[in-house]
């Protein structure tokens, strides 16, 4: 089964890293097809950015961008003022939002999942330049929503990538995994 995911965020929030971590975790969880790639525009800190991930139990050959995702992950709901994040989202797809609000506060036709990744990041003291790092908790919440990726595999991928910062990120991912409201 092929699952396609789009991450929306702002430059500097780590949308690309989130997609890459998911890819590593997906491979560790036994998926044969794993692919993650950024959409590169005139990228700069604060500007809306997009990253893509494909996961499948079979090998993946297709190379085009994702136009009909199964899940969209929104790291910063502020980008929704400028971008329609549900564009192309499948009818039975899921929108995962980083928010302290409830699902009822949003009006989308697709299913909404919420997690307060910003608070989780602050609580675990994962900050870059004073700004909470939300990509790792959001990826934790995501593996709860999609199929075939283990939270332990995600934490392992973080340990390989982050060195000293790994444990706090892994903890934040685990918390978001538990706390995400579906």
């Amino acid at each position: 089964m092929l699952q396609e995911i789009i991450f929306y965020g702002r430059g500097g929030q780590g949308s690309v890293t989130a997609a890459n971590l998911l890819a590593s975790a997906a491979l560790k969880s036994g998926n044969r097809g794993v692919q993650a790639f950024p959409f590169f525009g005139a990228e700069r800190r604060g500007a809306p950015v997009k990253a893509f991930a494909r996961i499948s139990d079979e090998e993946i050959f297709v190379r085009s961008q994702i136009t009909e995702p199964d899940v969209v992950v929104v790291l910063d709901t502020g980008v929704m003022d400028a971008i329609d994040v549900t564009q192309g989202l499948k009818e039975d797809g899921v929108i995962l939002l980083n928010t302290n609000q409830q699902a009822d506060d949003f009006s989308f036709t697709q299913k909404i999942a919420t997690v307060d990744a910003t608070s989780i990041a602050l609580k675990n003291n994962i900050l870059v330049g004073g700004i909470p790092v939300v990509n790792t908790p959001m990826t934790g919440a995501l593996v709860r929503i999609i199929k075939g990726v283990e939270i332990e595999a995600l934490k392992e991928a973080m340990r390989e990538r982050f060195g000293k910062q790994a444990e706090s990120n892994a903890r934040a991912a685990e918390e978001a995994y538990r706390e995400v409201k579906l």
Binding site: L27, F37, F61, R63
Partner: protein, 397 residues
């Protein structure tokens, strides 16, 4: 010398795969200048040097022209070298590319295909590498990151072969490979060392026995040198076929020589693709086959040397051939189309050119499906179009 590295499976970018390939092949001198989207290759190789994984000499240079000059000098002194570039960087290197090839120096240079300005773009187009056609370099394109790593290793084997001795640029698509992570299996350093052996130059610059190379030659000499370069490029075809066979036996990944055929056996029409569009086209072929359409795919790996003989054999058994191009020779069509027509002179089947993905525009399944639809029409004599622009505003394909 490099540290002992075990066999491992990594989730890495195409750029990392290129850098890892150069490092594990035992490149001794690296001179490179960073340019998007090749930048990660330079950064990753610099990290290998910094972390002591390789003791390669990493030369900081002020331009791509200097990068190639430094590689030429180092290779002429007997070192295995590595560099990488993209777009304007390759254009700036152009002058030195001739020298590397004419001096028969087997330099390996991954090129991350990026559009050449104007206007400035950072996305995938082959108008950087394809205009280097006549510099004497071998040139090939990769479909995925595994092929990038494997091809950098194989590049040394092919380029350093005594019947070839030509530089080579394995190319990878900007962002679609360079910045995309996917699983790649890397062989161990021992396996690669045993496979490649030590680089043994035919002649080298030596301070004990000084000599000058490439200085001056009157008309009495140059024509023969050009002939030898021409023959070396012809020899490269045989060597590439042998090397991919041998690589498959050694490492288990089979790249089938200069081209790979996919579901061509009983095909009515075939599409020739290059680079990452091949992957997307594989899925389209599978879907069309399920709907009963007899379509096939030819993944063209090498642009220089060009697989003339392989394509002639395919032309004998199909009703139409399409050629996908991601660059255009203005007024004549895509470079691969021109080349394919030349190779298939005398064959009467329709040969169509499809231009898509120019400037890095996304090539989707529906675009490739359109190409096959038009090819099937051409086979039935329902269209006589030659050069078709797919997904271009204001243009009907």
């Amino acid at each position: 010398m490099i540290q002992k590295l075990e066999r491992k499976k990594m989730v890495i970018t195409g750029d990392y795969a290129a850098a890892y390939g150069g490092m594990i092949s035992g490149a001794e001198v690296v001179a490179a200048y960073p340019i998007t989207p090749q930048t990660l290759i330079v950064e990753d190789f610099a990290t290998f040097v910094n972390d002591g994984i390789t003791d390669a000499e990493f030369i900081m240079v002020e331009s791509e022209h200097s990068a190639m000059s430094a590689c030429i000098a180092a290779q002429a002194a007997g070192a295995r070298t590595f560099t990488a570039t993209s777009s304007q960087g390759l254009a700036l290197m152009h002058e030195m590319l001739f020298i590397a090839a004419s001096l028969r120096l087997p330099i390996v240079m991954p090129v991350v295909n990026r559009t050449v300005a104007a206007p400035i773009g950072i996305w995938c187009e082959y108008n950087d590498s394809m205009p280097q056609r006549d510099t004497g370099w071998m040139q090939m394109s990769c479909e995925d990151n595994q092929e990038v790593l494997d091809m950098v290793i194989m590049s040394y084997k092919i380029a350093e072969h005594r019947d070839v001795l030509l530089p080579i640029m394995p190319c990878l698509d900007a962002f679609i490979l360079s910045h995309t992570v996917e699983p790649v299996e890397a062989p161990s350093s021992d396996e690669v060392a045993q496979y490649l052996g030590k680089y043994e130059p035919v002649a080298k610059l030596d301070t004990e026995n000084p000599m000058a190379i490439g200085t001056f030659a009157p008309p009495e000499y140059i024509q023969e040198l050009r002939y030898h370069n021409h023959m070396a490029m012809e020899n490269a075809k045989r060597v590439i076929r042998e090397v991919t066979r041998d690589f498959a036996r050694t490492f288990g990944h089979d790249y089938h020589g200069l081209i790979e055929e996919y579901r061509c056996d009983d095909a009515d029409v075939v599409l020739i693709t290059i680079g990452t569009v091949t992957g997307t086209a594989r899925e389209v072929v599978d879907e069309l086959r399920e709907r009963g359409k007899k379509v096939g795919l030819v993944k063209l790996r090498f642009y220089r040397p060009f697989p003339r003989e392989e394509l002639q054999k395919i032309a004998e058994r199909v009703g139409a051939i399409g050629v996908y191009d991601r660059a255009v020779s203005f007024g004549s069509g895509g470079p691969m189309f021109i080349e394919t027509r030349h190779a298939l002179y005398g064959h009467s089947i329709p040969i169509m050119n499809f231009l898509a993905g120019i400037g890095g525009r996304d090539v989707m399944k529906k675009d490739v499906e359109k190409m096959f639809e038009m090819l099937l029409e051409a086979k039935e004599g329902k269209t006589s179009k030659e050069i078709v622009w797919i997904g271009t505003r204001g243009v009907t394909p």
